[in-house]
């Protein structure tokens, strides 16, 4: 195998028309609005990040306990706690601008098609937002979130409504809690989605055998962490085969090697989730490990490996 030097390794990718320095993106809900991690390290080293799922109105979310541990993973039922789109525009994004100088991914959620569209419309004027990631897959809220992402027609109607109010690229964030994820992905693509990101968390549950009660107040929650990586990889692979738009893969990614594996199976970029909560430096370490791992594997340009499993 040819020996590659550091300068010969290219980690940049094009995500829906925007070039990012590397494909590593902390996922929504694990990175807040970014600026708190900026106290730990220079977050400009990341490709970008997806900010905390934002709704039109402020939300407290679900009752606590909201967290349960699992083997190689965790369950959360936060339930889209966020300060609402107006506070994001007036407080969070100005804080972020001070420390992050790249386009950010705006993760939005809602309880009606109109709410998704209104939230996107309000955020559309924010220059720093590069992409919208439309969360139609939150398992922790009723009457919104995942209920849009488990039906192709409903998913398409949300994407269509968001596309009408923005010129920025729109990614549909999909749920794994469906029988055939490619049906939803294709419906989103047909409705104009510029990309697909998946997977959100798997619906899971833990029961406390001593207290004889569910561990989580809301009974069920979203299961994430390294345990779900093979499921995520399989769905990324299936989706990349089914659509022509870029796929952003996520689910249990914890190392540079996981990033490469997921890109080989069809992801143009990769989001890191639960690992950020266990190790606050995880995403930075993955960014720094990536060129090393590429050299080791004889990869000179990361773009060249995207979807090689699918060909």
């Amino acid at each position: 195998m040819e020996k590659l030097t550091e300068t010969q390794v290219n980690t940049s990718v094009n995500l829906c028309g925007i070039r990012i320095d590397n494909p590593v993106i902390p996922a929504s809900g694990t990175f807040g609005y970014g600026y708190e991690f900026a106290k730990l390290y220079d977050i400009n080293e990341l490709g970008t990040f997806s900010f905390k799922g934002t709704t039109l109105e402020p939300r407290f979310g679900n009752p606590t306990p909201r967290i349960a541990e699992c083997t190689a993973g965790m369950i959360n039922s936060v339930g889209l706690q966020n300060p609402g789109v107006h506070a994001v525009i007036n407080t969070e994004l100005p804080e972020l601008r001070k420390v992050f100088h790249k386009p950010v991914m705006a993760n939005i959620s809602g309880f009606s098609v109109e709410e998704y569209a209104k939230t996107a419309e309000l955020l559309n004027g924010e220059e720093q937002i590069g992409w919208f990631e439309v969360n139609i897959s939150c398992p922790n809220v009723h009457g919104g979130g995942m209920s849009f992402g488990t039906d192709p027609k409903a998913a398409a109607s949300v994407i269509d409504a968001v596309k009408r109010v923005t010129t920025k690229p729109v990614l549909a964030k999909l749920s794994p809690n469906v029988t055939d994820v490619t049906l939803i992905a294709r419906a989103c693509e047909a409705a104009g989605a510029d990309g697909i990101s998946l997977i959100n968390t798997l619906l899971g549950m833990r029961f406390d055998v001593r207290r004889r009660k569910p561990v989580i107040a809301n009974t069920m929650g979203g299961f994430s962490g390294p345990a779900i990586f093979p499921v995520a990889l399989r769905m990324v692979y299936q989706t990349a085969n089914a659509v022509n738009v870029p796929v952003v893969g996520m689910g249990g990614v914890s190392s540079a090697e996981d990033v490469i594996e997921m890109m080989m199976c069809g992801a143009t970029a990769v989001e890191t989730g639960a690992v950020n909560l266990v190790d606050p430096y995880a995403s930075l370490n993955i960014v720094r490990e990536l060129p090393v791992k590429m050299r080791e594997l004889g990869i000179s340009d990361i773009k060249n490996i995207i979807g090689i499993a699918n060909k």
Binding site: L40, M74, G225
Partner: protein, 277 residues
């Protein structure tokens, strides 16, 4: 400028993981600590001493978050005592994680996040502050007690346990607060020079105090809330995801808005508290 040690250094090539300076302030630090002692103090209750960089730990009532082999989430545990290079914690074995922690041998290194949480405000104490602890809520009050004494206050301490077999750290508290330490047990099975105090901590509160600090199980905190006559501070417990404010797993509602127990707490002022139900 700070020297940030990128803690994933073990997984990361040395060329990338030297002390990279970044501007800005931060409270939390990640680092490796060596266990110097890990012994049983009372029923299912252990003391662990660790050596490492304690610089980020700035206030009593803060906690550390400990990574354990074979467990995905870290274990948040309050600081019992801390100085320049050593840190002690007292923890109760309540599940598989803390059971594994209790079996970890001295000499082993643990990955810790330190300097987590706001901690108690020692500036509010006045001359005669009251410290009320219950069970595993007792540990964070010890370093607080020392800090208060060091600033010239004369703390009064009431510590509650279920039974004599659960009692710990009495000598440590007595060394700081002398005769002002009262030990209370629910079943009355414990007695010492402070007498035999059977009942709940709220049955044995002193008549007068300038301010109070408390930590313990929620039913005790609710009772303390009702029984106290001054302003004070409560330390809360909640299941956490990250422990440093990123995941919103441990949020609670307060008079002054939504707060994260891990980052905006665990200490809340009495006037901020909104009890669930």
């Amino acid at each position: 400028m700070y020297n940030i040690r990128v803690p994933g250094a073990r997984r990361c090539p040395a060329a990338f993981c030297c002390n990279l300076p970044f501007p800005g302030s931060f409270a939390m630090k990640q680092g490796f600590f060596t266990i110097t002692e890990n012994r049983k103090l009372a029923d299912a209750t252990f003391l662990m001493r660790l050596e490492g960089d304690t610089e980020a730990i700035t206030a009593p009532g803060q906690f550390v978050n400990i990574k354990l082999d074979g467990f995905y989430l870290r274990r948040p545990i309050s600081v019992f005592d801390c100085d320049g290079k050593t840190l002690s914690i007292i923890y109760k074995v309540v599940g598989r994680g803390t059971d594994a922690l209790s079996k970890t041998e001295p000499g082993k290194e643990l990955d810790l996040l330190t300097g987590l949480g706001n901690g108690y405000d020692i500036g509010a104490a006045g001359k005669r502050p009251l410290l009320i602890g219950g069970g595993v809520g007792v540990p964070p009050l010890y370093w607080l007690c020392k800090k208060l004494a060091a600033q010239g206050a004369m703390p009064q301490v009431v510590l509650g346990f279920n039974s004599a077999k659960d009692v710990f750290a009495v000598a440590e508290f007595r060394a700081v607060a002398g005769p002002d330490v009262k030990i209370v047990t629910v079943d009355g099975s414990y007695s010492d020079i402070g007498g035999c105090n059977k009942g709940f901590v709220t049955d044995f509160l002193p008549a007068s105090y300038t301010y109070f600090y408390t930590c313990g199980p929620e039913p005790m905190l609710r009772a303390v809330y009702k029984a106290t006559s001054t302003e004070g501070e409560f330390s809360f417990e909640e299941r956490m995801g990250c422990g440093f404010g990123a995941c919103m797993g441990c949020s609670c509602k307060t008079v002054t808005g939504y707060k994260r127990i891990c980052k905006d707490g665990p200490v809340l002022k009495k006037e901020e508290i909104l009890w669930k139900n």
